[in-house]
C-alpha cells in the first residue's frame, strides 16, 4: 500500500463538497482509503485514526486542506489525485451545454466551450487579432473578413503552420470541412475529392459542378486570394496540399486559384511533384505548363477542373465539350436586331466573372471587364459601358458600405435595367448563387430585374436575351429547381454551368471571333 498526504495552506472548501469528493475517490479502483478534509481538530483525529495523519496534518489548521489517499500502486494513487484536482478545480457549472451568447472568445472558452474552428467575420482591422487569439487557443481559423494586411496574413499563417493549424483566408468565402459547409458553401455529396482553393465563388462552382456530375467532396479548403502571392508564399496552399495528400479518404486533389506569383510557382510545383495522388491544377488564366508528371493535369476553367476531378474519382475517361444547344440558341438569336451586338454580364461571383472572361475572350471582340488583367480589356469607366462588358459587382467600388451582392443581390437590378436601355445590348449574362450564406431567394430578385429589363427593351421596340446560371446543388436549401423555374418564368435562358452560360451568350451574338454567323 502506498500513501500520499498533501496539505494545502489556506485553501478552504466547504465540507459537503469535500465529503462527496472523498467518497468518490474512495470508490476508485485500487484506492483503499481517501480522506479529503479541512484540517479541523476533529478531522485531524480522523486522519490519525485511519493512518493518514502525519506531522504536517497535525500542524495544519481549519483553513488548510488535507488530501490523503492510500492506494495499491503509484498508478492508482496518481489517478486518484488527478481526479481530486479535476473535481476541485472545476465546478460542473461551466461544463453544462448552454446556448450562451458570449462577448469574447475568452469568455466562451472559460465557460467550457470547446471548439476546433473559429469562423471570423468581424471588421478587417480587428480580424487578425481575433484570428491570432483563436490560433493560440488551438482553433483552426476560417477568416471571412477582408481588409487584413499582408503582414498580418503572413504572421497568422506562419503561426498557424507552426501550430499545425489552418488559416483559411483572409477574404475566404467558402470551405467544406468534414461535410460541413462554412460561410458561402453548397450542400454536397460526400466523396473522395479534396480541394484547395484560393477563391470563393470559384471554389463554389467547382463544388457544384462536381456534385452535378455525380462526384463527391472529402474536404474543400480555402486559402484566401493572396496566398499564392510572393508576400505570403503559398503557406496555406502548401499546408492544404500536404494535408489532403496525407488524408486517406482523399483520392483526387484539385487546386483552384489565380496563377501563383513567379517566386511561389516553383515551390508549389516542387511540392506537387511529391504528391502521388492524381492532381487537377486549375490556375485560371495561367500559362500552360509542359512536361507534367503523369499524375498531374491542368484545367483552364472551373468546369474543366470539376469534370477532370470527377473522371479521376470515378476512374473513367475525361471527355471534352458540353452539350450542343446551337439549334435552340440560333432560334433565340433571331429575336435580336443586327445592332444588338453586345453582351453585358453582371456578376455577383468574382471568379465566375473571371471564368466567363476566359470563355468569351476566344469568342467575342471589344471585350472589357473590371477583373481583367489584360491591358486591352481594362474597363475605363464602369458608369459608361461600351462593347462587350463583364462586371464583377462584388468589387469594393460597388459594395462600399453595402452588403456583398451574394447576400443582397438587389443592387444588381439597376445595372440590368440600365443595360436594357442601350440599343447595342442584345444579351444580359447573370449568375445566381444559392447555398449557405447566400440570399434566401436570389432568383426572385434577379427575375424582377429581368422582367423590368425586358419591358424596358420592349418599350424601345427591341427584344432582350438573358442568360442565367444558378450556381447551386439540388440539395441546397433555396431549392435549385424552384430557383430555376422562377427565372425561366421570366424567359431567361438557363445554363448548367458558368462556362455554358458564357458560351450561350457568345452563341447568341454569333461568336464574333470567327464563329458561325447567326
Amino acid at each position: 500500500m502506498l500513501k500520499k498526504i498533501l496539505v494545502r495552506k489556506n485553501a478552504y472548501f466547504d465540507s459537503v463538497t469535500l465529503m462527496s469528493l472523498g467518497s468518490k475517490i474512495k470508490k476508485m479502483d485500487g484506492v483503499s482509503q481517501a480522506v479529503v478534509v479541512m484540517a479541523t481538530e476533529m478531522n485531524r483525529e480522523i486522519l490519525m485514526n485511519v493512518g493518514l495523519g502525519n506531522q504536517e496534518t497535525e500542524a495544519a489548521g481549519p483553513n488548510d486542506l488535507v488530501l490523503a489517499v492510500e492506494a495499491e500502486s503509484e498508478t492508482f494513487l496518481s489517478a486518484a489525485f488527478a481526479e481530486i484536482e479535476e473535481k476541485l478545480a472545476g465546478s460542473q457549472d461551466k461544463k453544462k451545454n448552454r446556448d450562451n451568447v458570449y462577448k469574447t472568445q475568452e469568455e466562451a472558452l472559460k465557460d467550457g466551450v470547446k471548439a476546433n474552428m473559429a469562423v471570423i467575420s468581424v471588421p478587417g482591422r480587428f480580424a487578425a487579432r481575433e484570428a491570432k487569439k483563436a490560433l493560440k487557443n488551438g482553433m483552426h481559423v476560417m477568416l471571412f473578413s477582408d481588409n487584413v494586411t499582408v503582414e498580418q496574413e503572413r504572421e497568422l499563417k506562419e503561426l498557424a503552420r507552426e501550430k499545425g493549424l489552418f488559416v483559411m483566408g483572409p477574404d475566404c468565402g467558402t470551405a467544406v470541412i468534414n461535410g460541413t459547409g462554412l460561410c458561402f458553401a453548397n450542400k454536397m455529396r460526400k466523396g473522395a475529392i479534396g480541394i484547395v482553393g484560393a477563391s470563393g465563388t470559384g471554389l463554389q462552382e467547382v463544388l457544384v459542378q462536381i456534385d452535378r456530375l455525380g462526384g463527391g467532396i472529402a474536404q474543400a479548403l480555402g486559402t484566401g486570394g493572396r496566398d499564392l502571392k510572393e508576400s505570403i508564399g503559398g503557406i496555406m496552399m502548401m499546408e492544404g496540399i500536404k494535408a489532403l495528400d496525407a488524408e486517406e479518404q482523399v483520392k483526387v486533389l484539385v487546386l483552384v486559384s489565380k496563377p501563383p506569383e513567379a517566386a511561389v510557382e516553383e515551390t508549389i510545383w516542387n511540392l506537387l511533384r511529391q504528391v502521388k495522388k492524381p492532381v487537377v491544377v486549375c490556375f485560371l488564366e495561367g500559362k500552360k505548363r509542359e512536361n507534367l508528371p503523369a499524375n498531374i493535369c491542368m484545367a483552364s476553367t472551373l468546369l474543366e477542373a470539376a469534370k477532370k476531378a470527377v473522371a479521376l474519382e470515378k476512374g473513367v475517361e475525361y471527355t471534352e465539350g458540353i452539350r450542343d444547344r446551337s439549334r435552340e440558341i440560333q432560334k433565340e438569336s433571331m429575336d435580336l436586331k443586327p445592332e444588338q451586338r453586345y453582351v453585358r454580364g453582371f456578376f455577383c461571383g468574382g471568379t465566375l466573372c473571371a471564368e466567363a472572361l476566359i470563355v468569351l475572350r476566344e469568342r467575342l471582340t471589344e471585350l472589357r471587364s473590371n477583373v481583367s488583367h489584360h491591358e486591352e480589356e481594362i474597363l475605363e469607366d464602369a458608369r459608361d459601358l461600351k462593347g462587350n462588358v463583364l462586371l464583377d459587382l462584388g468589387e469594393d467600388e460597388f459594395t462600399n458600405g453595402r452588403p456583398h451582392p451574394m447576400i443582397e443581390p438587389s443592387l444588381r437590378t439597376e445595372w440590368i435595367v440600365d443595360a436594357a436601355k442601350d440599343p447595342a445590348v442584345g444579351v444580359i449574362l447573370l449568375d445566381v448563387e444559392i447555398g449557405y450564406g447566400s440570399h434566401e431567394n436570389p432568383a426572385q430578385i434577379a427575375a424582377e430585374g429581368i422582367r423590368q429589363a425586358k419591358e424596358t427593351a420592349k418599350a424601345a421596340g427591341r427584344n432582350l436575351k438573358v442568360v442565367v446560371y444558378v450556381c447551386g446543388t439540388d440539395k441546397d436549401r433555396q431549392n435549385l429547381e424552384e430557383q430555376r423555374a422562377i427565372l425561366a418564368g421570366e424567359g431567361a435562358i438557363l445554363a448548367d454551368s458558368n462556362v455554358e452560360a458564357a458560351q450561350l451568350a457568345a452563341q447568341l451574338l454569333g461568336n464574333q471571333k470567327g464563329g458561325k454567323n447567326r
Binding site: 495552506k9 489556506n10 478552504y12 472548501f13 466547504d14 463538497t17 481549519p62 483553513n63 476541485l88 465546478s91 460542473q92 457549472d93 453544462k96 446556448d99 450562451n100 451568447v101 458570449y102 462577448k103 469574447t104 472568445q105 475568452e106 469568455e107 466562451a108 472559460k110 465557460d111 466551450v113 470547446k114 471548439a115 476546433n116 474552428m117 473559429a118 469562423v119 471570423i120 467575420s121 468581424v122 471588421p123 480587428f126 487579432r129 481575433e130 483563436a134 482553433m139 483552426h140 471571412f144 473578413s145 501550430k163 499545425g164 493549424l165 489552418f166 470541412i177 468534414n178 460541413t180 462554412l182 499546408e239 500536404k242 494535408a243 496525407a246 488524408e247 479518404q249 449557405y436 450564406g437
Partner: protein
C-alpha cells in the same frame, strides 16, 4: 500531421461575427457558439496595440498569478476594536478619513460634507453645523482617503480620530485593515446625517459598545472572517448589500463571549441588541476583511490586477497592483436600480463608498449569482444575477474556491480583476450598491447596479504602458 486531426474530429465552431453563419451551421446540425462581438477597447486601435503587447507577456502573467495567489491565501480575522487614533497609521487629531479617491472639502458631495460636519461635532471640534463647515473649509483639517490608511468605510466612509474601528488582521501576511462600526439604517453618519441622535449613537458606540466588544473579542479570541464569509455566501449573502447570514453567524459566534464580559447587564443587553438588530453589521467586517486580503496583492511590479475600487460620490478611483497606490479616477456613475417609494432619479447621489472593495475581492456584485434575495432589492431577476456573475469570469484571473457559489454548481467566486481583460472584453466590473440621497442626512433611497467608469481603466493602462511598457 496534426493539421489532419481536424478531419477526424467533429466540427465545432466559434462564430465570431455575422450570426447568419451560425444559423447555417445550426441547419447542418453542427455545434456552433456565437460570440456577440464588439470592437475591443471600444475600437481604440492605440489601446488595442498596447493590450496586445501586454497580453502575451509571461512576466505579467506571472505577476498576476502571484497577486491572485496572495488574494486566495488571505486569511482575515477580527482581532479587536480600538479608537482610530490609537491604531490607524497616519491618523492625527486633525485627520478625517473619507471614502474613495482623494478629494478636498470644496469638491465633496453633500452626504460626505454632512458626515464631516457630524464627525467634527462628535469630536467636539464644533458646536454646530456652521462652525463645523467653517472648520472643514479652514484648511486645519487634513482630509485623506481611508484607503491610504489601511482602512475602508461604507458610503461617506468618514473616520475621525475618536471613532472605534474593527481591527482585522490578515494572518497570512500580518497586515491589518480598519473599519468603523456599522450604525444601522435610517439617520446615520455614513449618509451624511448629523443630528443629535446620530451624534449620541456614535458616542454610545465609543463609550459603551466598544468596551463590551473589546472584552468579548479578547474572551473569544480572534474571529475568522473568511470562514464566516464563505459560509454566508453558501447561505445567500454576497457580503456587500446582503449581510444577513453573515451577521447572524458573527452574532452566534460572539454572543456568549459578550455575556461573559462582566459589564452591567443593561450595557451588555444593549450591545447585543445593537448587533442583533442590524442586518448590515457584518458589512463593516466584510469590507476590512477584503481590504486586508487585497493590500498584500498591491505593489507587485508587473501585475495588472486591480487592488482597489472606491468612490467618494464625485469620482470613482481604482488602484492597480503594478502601479502601487496611484489612483486612476473618473467621474462616478449614477447607480441604476430601484428607488424607495417617494424618490426619483434626481434625488440620487452618484456612486459612493469604499464598499466596492468587496467586488474587488470577488464577492458583492461578482457573487450575485449566489444571492437570489439581493436581486430583487437591486432590481432584476435571478437570471440577471447569474449572468452578471458569469460575465465576471471574463475579466478575472481565476476562481476562489473558498467562496463557492451554490447556484453556479459551487464554482469559485471570480477573483482578481485584470485591467487588461476589462479593456479587452469591454466588460466592466459589476458592483451592486446602495443609493444615497444627494442631500446630506436623508439616507439610503434605493439600491442597484453600477459600473466603474471605463475611463479609470484606460488611464491606468496608459500609465502602465509608460511605466512598464
Amino acid at each position: 500531421m496534426k493539421i489532419n486531426d481536424l478531419f477526424q474530429q467533429e466540427l465545432t465552431v466559434l462564430n465570431i461575427g455575422a450570426p447568419n453563419f451560425k444559423a447555417d451551421l445550426d441547419l447542418q446540425g453542427i455545434s456552433a457558439h456565437q460570440i456577440q462581438w464588439m470592437p475591443p477597447a471600444e475600437g481604440d486601435l492605440e489601446l488595442i496595440e498596447q493590450l496586445d503587447a501586454f497580453c502575451d507577456r509571461e512576466d505579467i502573467k506571472e505577476a498576476n498569478q502571484e497577486a491572485f495567489s496572495r488574494i486566495l491565501k488571505g486569511s482575515p480575522v477580527l482581532v479587536g476594536m480600538e479608537r482610530a487614533i490609537d491604531v490607524i497609521p497616519g491618523m492625527t487629531k486633525n485627520t478625517i478619513l473619507h471614502s474613495g479617491p482623494p478629494i478636498g472639502w470644496d469638491r465633496m458631495c453633500d452626504p460626505v460634507k454632512g458626515a464631516v460636519v457630524g464627525a467634527l461635532i462628535y469630536e467636539g471640534r464644533a458646536e454646530n453645523e456652521e462652525e463645523a463647515r467653517q472648520l472643514a473649509a479652514s484648511g486645519e483639517i487634513t482630509f485623506s482617503p481611508c484607503h491610504e490608511h489601511s482602512a475602508v468605510g461604507p458610503m461617506a466612509g468618514i473616520i475621525s480620530p475618536s471613532m472605534p474601528v474593527h481591527i482585522v488582521e490578515n494572518k497570512t501576511y500580518g497586515n491589518r485593515a480598519y473599519c468603523t462600526v456599522n450604525e444601522g439604517l435610517g439617520k446615520v453618519l455614513r449618509f451624511g446625517a448629523f443630528d443629535q441622535s446620530v451624534i449620541a449613537r456614535l458616542r454610545w458606540i465609543e463609550t459603551e459598545f466598544m468596551p463590551v466588544m473589546q472584552k468579548a473579542i479578547r474572551i473569544h479570541g480572534e474571529i475568522d472572517l473568511k470562514v464566516i464569509t464563505a459560509q454566508a455566501v453558501q447561505m445567500g449573502d454576497e457580503c456587500h448589500n446582503r449581510n444577513k447570514a453573515a451577521t447572524c453567524l458573527f452574532f452566534r459566534e460572539l454572543v456568549l463571549s459578550m455575556l461573559k464580559t462582566g459589564f452591567p447587564g443593561q450595557q451588555i443587553e444593549k450591545a447585543i441588541d445593537f448587533i442583533r438588530g442590524n442586518d448590515h453589521y457584518f458589512l463593516n467586517l466584510s469590507m476590512p476583511a477584503c481590504k486586508s486580503i487585497l493590500d498584500p496583492a498591491n505593489g507587485i511590479p508587473n501585475s495588472t490586477i486591480v487592488t482597489a475600487m472606491a468612490r467618494n460620490g464625485v469620482d470613482f478611483g481604482i488602484q492597480v497592483s503594478g502601479l502601487g497606490k496611484k489612483w486612476f479616477t473618473a467621474p462616478a456613475n449614477y447607480v441604476q436600480g430601484l428607488l424607495f417609494p417617494g424618490y426619483d432619479d434626481q434625488d440620487a447621489n452618484p456612486d459612493l463608498g469604499d464598499s466596492a472593495i468587496t467586488e474587488t475581492t470577488g464577492i458583492g456584485g461578482f457573487a450575485m449569482g449566489a444571492s437570489p434575495a439581493i436581486t430583487q432589492f437591486v432590481g432584476g431577476t435571478v437570471e440577471d444575477a447569474v449572468n452578471y456573475t458569469r460575465s465576471m469570469y471574463t475579466i478575472t484571473t481565476g476562481e476562489n474556491s473558498a467562496y463557492a457559489l451554490p447556484p453556479m454548481d459551487f464554482r469559485g467566486a471570480a477573483t482578481g480583476i485584470d485591467l487588461l481583460k476589462v479593456l479587452d472584453s469591454g466588460t466592466l466590473p459589476v458592483i451592486n450598491t446602495g443609493i444615497a440621497h444627494r442631500v446630506a442626512g436623508i439616507g439610503q433611497i434605493g439600491a442597484g447596479i453600477v459600473n466603474p467608469p471605463r475611463e479609470c481603466f484606460v488611464k491606468a493602462l496608459k500609465e502602465y504602458g509608460k511605466v512598464r511598457g
